[in-house]
């Protein structure tokens, strides 16, 4: 069910930019399907960013975030090869995660 994630982490000028894309419908619970039935609420609630295993950003988000969410975070310093991990959990308890190395 959980679609692919994409992530890129680049170091530039002493700051690491982490850009992550998650595949998720982010249903608001207010949209109707073609048959006129409400599509149930289904959205990511928590997004966690870790650097070398240490949590640096904890996010709580709502259904007000756009479909297939994209976030950019910034980390002070960092070095090429640092391990960046992002994970999410939605209101159905589904989860996904991805990791990359700083380039």
């Amino acid at each position: 069910m959980a679609g692919p994630m994409k992530m890129r982490a680049t170091l530039s000028g002493g700051v690491t930019d982490v850009r992550v894309l998650m595949t998720h419908p982010m249903e608001t619970g207010q949209r109707k399907d073609p048959d006129g039935k409400l599509v149930p609420l289904h959205f990511i609630q928590n997004v966690t960013l870790k650097v070398n295993g240490k949590t640096v950003v904890e996010s709580q988000i709502s259904q007000g975030i756009s479909r297939n969410p994209v976030f950019t975070f910034r980390i002070k310093g960092g070095a090429k090869g640092d391990r960046i991990e992002v994970s999410w959990i939605d209101n159905h308890g589904e989860t996904n995660q991805t990791e990359t190395a700083v380039a």
Binding site: N46, V57, Q60, R74
Partner: protein, 166 residues
């Protein structure tokens, strides 16, 4: 309606001695209840249910302990003044307030204004860029928390319907 319990109909069940057609009715209901209840137990500690369920920005801010934030130019919002597509509005936020530990983003006119809260620990810069849904022309309100105090900045985003750019 024909009876469910006839000797001929039981043949698919003969290897499942406990499976009774009589109790099969309530079972899907119990299963559904379990699916609905489970996630709440798992997430109760880390998701601000009251804040995200609040229908006004003021109520949401109360749950963050930020009822009276101080206006600050050090909270910087970069967002389009006019968004033709309210489904995907890019919003970039930087807090230049020293010691910022969290940023909350609210879209005043959305049915549930609070769209996100980001807690920054040692190593992260108080910055986030996200895409939000903006249902109608609204203020976007960003509240940064630093050393126990709250600072706010707002910007209006106009949403045009039909993409005519007006």
């Amino acid at each position: 309606m024909r009876s469910k319990v006839t000797p001929g109909d039981q043949s698919p069940l003969k290897n499942r001695p406990n499976a009774s057609p009589v109790v099969s009715g309530p079972q899907p209901v119990n299963g559904l209840a379990a699916i609905v209840l489970k996630p709440f137990a798992a997430l109760a500690a880390t998701w601000n249910k009251d804040g995200f369920g609040a229908k006004t920005a003021a109520d949401a801010l109360k749950t963050l302990g930020a009822s009276n934030p101080v206006a600050s130019r050090d909270v910087v919002i970069e967002a389009p003044q006019i968004a033709e597509n309210g489904a995907v509005v890019p919003i970039e936020i930087t807090s230049n307030v020293p010691g910022t530990t969290s940023i909350a983003v609210l879209i005043d006119k959305n049915p549930f204004p609070l769209v996100g809260k980001f807690d920054f620990m040692e190593g992260a810069l108080p910055f986030v860029k996200l895409n939000a849904k903006v249902g109608e022309t609204s203020e976007v309100r960003v509240v940064a928390e630093a050393l126990g105090k709250h600072y706010v900045a707002t910007q209006e985003i106009k949403v045009t319907i039909g993409g005519c750019g007006g």
